[in-house]
Amino acid sequence: MALNITDDIFEKEVLQSERLTLVDFWAEWCQPCKIVGPIVEEFGEEYKDKVKVVKMDVDANTDAPGRYNIMSIPTLIFFKNGQPEKIMVGVQSKEQLKQAADELLG
């Protein structure tokens, strides 16, 4: 299960992570997020040795969502070495996530 992270551990869990990290920004009232959730979990399982997957509730946290200009959800951001390397807005398929990860893993 993807770890649910909050503003106070964002730095440690995401920006300081040694692995490529995918952050899934979501909220309870967001329908498309409910479609993306299971897809992100499946992707996380398949790529568990290469990518770290975490989720962030934008209702409960305003710091990181504000800093990274989240203006629509679902928004998925791949972080590498503390930088937001790829931003994906809207529903994505598992294939699209895998392709994005493969490109960033080099």
Binding site: A27, P32, I70, M71, I87
Partner: protein, 336 residues
Amino acid sequence: MENEIYDIAIIGSGPSGLTAGIYTSRADLKTIMFAGLKWGGQLMLTTEVENFPGFPDGIMGPELMSNMRKQAEKYGTKIIDVNFSQADFSQNPKKLVTEDGKEFYSKAVIIATGADTKWLQIPGEQEKIGRGISSCAPCDAAFYRNKKVVVVGGGDSAMEEAHVLSKFASEVYLVHRREEFRASDIMKKRVLENPKVTVFYNTAPLEVLGDQVVEVIKFSSKNLKVKPAGSNDVKELSPEDVGGKIISSKDGETIWEFKANGMFVAIGHIPNSGVFPDIEHDEKGFVKRHSDSKTNIEGVFVSGDVHDHRYMQGITAAGYGCEAALDAQHWLEDQE
């Protein structure tokens, strides 16, 4: 699942597809539905639906669609959440292929793929989707709290978008290329009386500008008329009167820049018919209905917003879905 031959294959999972599925399944026809990754159609992107009959207190769009889906599944419709890719309607049974490369076979097909957002297709627009550009206020309005937003359009959708946004945004600017909205009276009235909504008539967006997010919209106005927020008067004004910066003014057209945190596009929808090259459609992409819900191809039927450009309501889509189901059922009986 792939090796069976279905009686009915439904492409699309909005109110028309799901109603068709309920009917065909209850008629004991083996039904499969390609719902798409983003299943449920346009009502999944709205909040309260107040005009679908049977719900005096309204119902949330996603809840209505969830109920329809449960109903179709209850009677046996097999629903798979994959995107449809292409079909071969020249053979019998008809062959349908999904995005993951799987092939399915069905005697009859109902096309219920609906319609999608029509974008402005101006520079900067696509790149900023989700970063200040949106086409769904119910989805994204919460991210524009206390911000300044633009809504583009003149129909009911634009009125709805402006109304929803006004609950969060500090200022809403409704921009329309003509001097009259084509929206229904009730929707028009609600927006024109909204104390947070300013209207710019005779204006169209040309470009979206900004670094990480939307910062400025470049407009073209031919005789800018403004209805200020909280007033009923429409005045001929200069862009500078509304805080805009004029870039050029020539032959009656003024190009100007306007600072905004976001722009919501609500100029209409385009039918999802492009994926069926053999199906006859008009120049705008709306599938042509031959008698009843038939298309130009035997055994292929159509329902909902992919052909209907006149009504485009949840209830009319559902009605068309029922028609297509009954027509497909009779056609199948005639084949025996």
